[in-house]
Symmetry: D2
C-alpha cells in the first residue's frame, strides 16, 4: 500500500515473539499483530529496536516482514527497519524488506564507524535514490552515538529524500525545532514527525507531532490510541490522565536487576513478559545474549499490568 503522507497516529514498533529455541514464533507474531490492529493502531513498524532487529538474522528479519505484511494485507502501512552499520548494508536490507512486502523503510545514521554530518546526509541520499519506497530517518543516539540535527533533517526533507523521522532522542526541544521547521518550510510537505517516546507523547502531539512509535504500545495499544485521539480532540487534560497511566506502566522496563543485566534485557524482557502474561504471545524469550528475567522480576511485570488495569 502507499504510506499516507504524512503518516500519522500510533505506529507501534512490533515486538518479535521467539520460541524457546529463539526462532521467530509466527503464530504468536500473528496474534500480536491482531492485538495491535484490534487495538486501533494506525500502522506497524517491524524490525525496529523494540523488535530486537539488532538480534535477528537476515532470514528471521525476512520472515518477520513477510509474516506481518502478508497478514495485514494492506489494511495499514507496514514500515520495516533496515538497521545496519552503513549505506551498502542498509541497502541490502532495504531491498530485502521491500521484496518481503514492507511499504516503507526506516534507517538510522551509520554507526560503528566514525561519521560526519556530510556522510550522514550522503547516506540518506544514496538510500533514497536506490530504494523504491519512502525512507524514514530513525534518530536513536543511545544506539547510534550521533544525533541527527534539525538542519540535516530539514534539508533532507526539503529535498524529498526523507518521508519522515522517528525521534527517539529523548530531546523534545530539539524535536520541536524539527517540527516547527518542517511546518514553516515552503518545500516540506507530508513529512511525518513521529516521536519514539513512551512518556511525552501528549507533549509531542501538543507541539505539532503527527504521531508516535512507542514500544510500550505493544503492551497497551488501546491506551496509546486513546491518548492520540484525546490529543486530536484537544482534550489535553484527558490526554494527560491517559499518558500518566502509561508512564506508570512504563516503569516495568526497570524490573530487571541492573547488577545482572543491561537495559535492553530488562526493557525488552519486560515487554515480552507483559505480552506473555496478557496471553498474546506463547513465550517471553528474548534473543541471545540477553539475560532472561527471573521469576520475581516477571511477577513485578504482572503487578505493573494489574495496576494499569491490563490483567
Amino acid at each position: 500500500m502507499t504510506v499516507p503522507a504524512p503518516l500519522t497516529g500510533v505506529v507501534p514498533p512490533v515486538c518479535t515473539p521467539l520460541t524457546p529455541e529463539r526462532e521467530v514464533d509466527v503464530p504468536s507474531l500473528l496474534r500480536l499483530v491482531d492485538h495491535l490492529v484490534e487495538g486501533g493502531v494506525h500502522g506497524l513498524f517491524v524490525l525496529g529496536s523494540t523488535s530486537e532487529a539488532a538480534y535477528l538474522t537476515d532470514p528471521q528479519r525476512r520472515l518477520v516482514v513477510e509474516t506481518v505484511a502478508g497478514h495485514v494485507a494492506g489494511q495499514l502501512p507496514v514500515l520495516a527497519g533496515a538497521i545496519d552499520m552503513t549505506t551498502p548494508r542498509v541497502l541490502s536490507h532495504a531491498a530485502a524488506v521491500t521484496a518481503a512486502g514492507a511499504d516503507a523503510i526506516v534507517a538510522t545514521a551509520p554507526f560503528y564507524t566514525r561519521t560526519h554530518p556530510a556522510e550522514i546526509a550522503r547516506h540518506y541520499r544514496v538510500i533514497a535514490e536506490r530504494t523504491d519506497v519512502p525512507v524514514f530517518a530513525y534518530d536513536l543516539p543511545v544506539s547510534v552515538h550521533t544525533k541527527l540535527s534539525s538542519e540535516l533533517l530539514l534539508g533532507l526533507a526539503a529535498d524529498g529524500v526523507l518521508a519522515g523521522v522517528k525521534d527517539s532522542s529523548g530531546d523534545l526541544g530539539a524535536f520541536r525545532s524539527v517540527v516547527t521547521g518542517a511546518r514553516a518550510h515552503p518545500d516540506i510537505r507530508g513529512f511525518a514527525l513521529l516521536t519514539g517516546s513512551e512518556l511525552v507523547v501528549d507533549s509531542a502531539l501538543a507541539l505539532g507531532a503527527d504521531g508516535a512509535v512507542p514500544g510500550l504500545a505493544n503492551v497497551d495499544p488501546e491506551g496509546y490510541v486513546r491518548l492520540f485521539l484525546r490529543c486530536g480532540e484537544g482534550d489535553w487534560a484527558g490526554a494527560r490522565v491517559e499518558q500518566e497511566r502509561l508512564c506508570a506502566l512504563f516503569g516495568l522496563v526497570g524490573v530487571g536487576d541492573p547488577a545482572r543485566m543491561g537495559g535492553s534485557s530488562s526493557a525488552l524482557g519486560a515487554f515480552k513478559a507483559a505480552l506473555h502474561l496478557r496471553g498474546v504471545i506463547a513465550c517471553p524469550a528474548t534473543a541471545e545474549p540477553q539475560i532472561p528475567l527471573s521469576e520475581g522480576e516477571t511477577e513485578r511485570v504482572g503487578k505493573y499490568l494489574a495496576a494499569a488495569g491490563l490483567l
Copy 2:
C-alpha cells in the same frame, strides 16, 4: 590451517580494494595479499575495521574471505571478522566466513544495543560453542562504545572460550593487565595478546604482547615486520627508530579535512590512496557513504610516503 597458539607476529587487517563502482576489486586484493605476504607478515586479518567490514555487504564479505583464503592456501593463517551487532548475527557471519575458508574469527562485544558485562561474556561463550574455529575478541571501544575489561578477557581465556584478543582500545595500561594476567594465570595457555595500535607496537611487545594488527601495515608491511623482529632480538633502540618512522608515516591518516569528512573517510581513504600511489591497488575508492579525498589531500599522502622512503 590450524592457527598457531598463540598467534604471534604482524597480522595486518587487510584493506578491501574496491572498483570505482564499489565492487570488490579481486585482482587488486590479490596483489595486496601478495604485497603483504612478500612483506613478511605472519598472518592476515580480513573483514576488520580497516577492511571496511562495516561497509561490505554479505556477498562482498564472502568474496573477500574466499579470495584471500584461497590465495594464501594455508601458507599463513587467515582470520576473518564476524562484525555485527549481536550474537545471532555474529554467528551467521562466523558460519559464512568459516565456510569461505577463514581459519579463525574475530568478534567484538555487542554494539548498538545496551549491554552488560554478563551479556558480553554470554555472547562470547555462545559464539565459541557454536563455531568450529578459534574465536578472537576485538576490543574497539571507539566503535563498540564499551571496553572489554581484563577480568572478562582473562575469565574467558581461562575457560578456553577465546584464542586471543586484538586490543584497539588505545589504553596500553589496561592491555598490560591482560598481558601480565594471562602470563600469570595457570589455566591460560596459547592466548594471543595482539595490539591493534600503529603507534606503540614496540611498547606493547616490550611489555609482553605476542604481536600486532596495525592497519598501517597495509602500506608498509616490511616496516612492521622489521619492527617486530628488532623487538624479538631485544634491539629496543633499533625498534624505536623503526617505530618512530612508522609513527611519522601514520600522520597520513589525518590528511582529510575534518570540516568535510569523518575520521574513517580520512584514515581509510589515506591507506587506500597510499596503496594506490605505491601501485598495489588499482583504485583508491572507499565505500559509501565515505567522502573521497581531494586531489590535494591525496598529494599530501604522497608526501608522507616519500618522507618514509616508500615512493
Copy 3:
C-alpha cells in the same frame, strides 16, 4: 525572604554583565535586574551557568549576590548557585552566598571527580545539613556528566533534603517521572519542579512543572511571563504561539561560528549581545577564555531580536 514552597513561575538565571576589563559591571547588573523585575519574573537565580558562574572569581560571585539581593531587597526570592566540584567547596560557596543575601542555594552533583549515586546523595545531605537556606538540585548533565535519577531526587525530596530541582537535562520524559513521582509521594510537599529548558516550557508546565528557569528570559522576560500565565489559564494554544516565538528567538544561541568558538561562547555571547542591543547592559563582553562574537555574528543577533519584535 522565605522562598515560597514550592517556588513557582519564571526564575531567570541572571546574566552577569562585565566591563571590557572583565569586572562585574554593577550598574548594568542593576539595570538587568530592573529589566527582569519589570518584566514580571517571579524570582532570580544568580550564579548559574547562564550567569557565567563557572568563570567568576569568588569576589565577583560575592559582589553579584550582594548587588542583586541588596537591590531586590526581598521583593522576590534570590537563588544563588554554589557551583563547584565537591561537597566541601560547595559548602564554602553556600556560606558565602548566604552571607551575601541569597535566599536559597542551587548545587549540582559533584563533577570532575568520578562519582557514584550514593556519593551524590551524601553530597546533598551534607550540604543541606550545613546550610541554613533551602537547597535546590541542579541537573545539568552536559556540564556535570552525570544525570540525577528520579529515584535519587524523590528520595532526597521525601527526606526534606531538597527544596526543588532545576532540570536542565533536556530529557522531558525523565523530568516527568520526577514531577508525577513528587505529586504522588505522601512525604513530598512544596518541592519545586523547575525546567531549565527554553524550548519546551509549555510542555513542562502542561505536565505539571511549577516553573521555568530559562536563560533566554534575560532577553525577553515578558515573553516567558506571558507564556507562564497562559499555561496557568489553560490557554495551551496561546501558550504554544508564545513558546514558538521564543523558540525562534532562541536560534540566536547558534550565531557563533562553531569553527571559531565553543557553545558557551556562542550562547552566552548572544545573550549578552542581545541585552546590549536592547540597551540593558553597557558591554557585551563574556569572561575569559570565551571567544567574542564578531560584528557579523552580533548583527545576526539583532535580526533575531527584530524578528521577535524586541528591537
Copy 4:
C-alpha cells in the same frame, strides 16, 4: 627554587592526609613529604587529583602548599595544581599557590563549560601571561572531558607558554606524538614530558618521556625511583620487573565495592589506607562525599602491600 627545564624524574602527586574531621593533617602531611623525599623522588606535585584538590577548600589548598613548600625549602621543586573550571578562577588559584611558595603551577583545560580548542589555547596563554612561574598542562580527559591534542600542546610549547605536560589520558600513542613532536621541533627546548600513568612508566620513558607523576608513588616512592633509574640505565628487563611489581600493587585501587562507591572513593581511599597501614599518615579519611572503605576492603589493601613487599 627554579624548576629544572625540563623537569625530569619521579614527581608524585602528593596525597593530602586529613584528620577524622576532614581538616588537613599537617603532621601527617610532613611525614608523607619526608617519606617521599627519602624515597628519592625528584619533585612534588601538590593539589593534583590524587591530592583530592577537587575536594579541598581554598584555605586547605593554601595550607597544603605552605606546609609542603616550607618543609622542602627548595630541596626539590614543588608544583601545585590550580584546578578550577575556567581561566579567571584558575588565575586566582595560581596567584594563591604561588604566594604560598609553589615553584610552578599545573592547570587543566576548562571544564564544566563547553570548550573549543581555540578557547583552550587562549586559556593557557592568558594563564601564562599573568603568572610568574612555569605553567604545566594537565591532560586528564576522564575529569575534564576533553583531550589536549598534540597540535595544541606543541603549539603552546613552541611559543613558550607551557613548561611541560602531565599526560593522564591513558593514550600512550597520542602522548608519543607529543614526545616525538617536541623532540623534533626547533623551537621547543626544556619542555617536560611527564606521564601520569602508574602502569606504563617504563614504556613512556622508553619512548622518550622525561618523567612520571604516578599517584601510586605515594605508597611506594622507592619503587618508582628504582624504575626511573633502571630505565635511565637502559636496563629495560630490570625496569619491567619493577614495573610489573608496581602494576600488581596498583590493583589496590579496585578494592572498593563498585556497588557502594565510585572510582575516586576506591582509589584515593586505597592510597590513603596503604599510607596509614605503612605508618606514614595518622588517618585514612578521604574528603566528603567520598565513601570510606570498609574494614574488609582495607584488609585487602594490606594484602596488596604485603604481596609487594611493603608491609
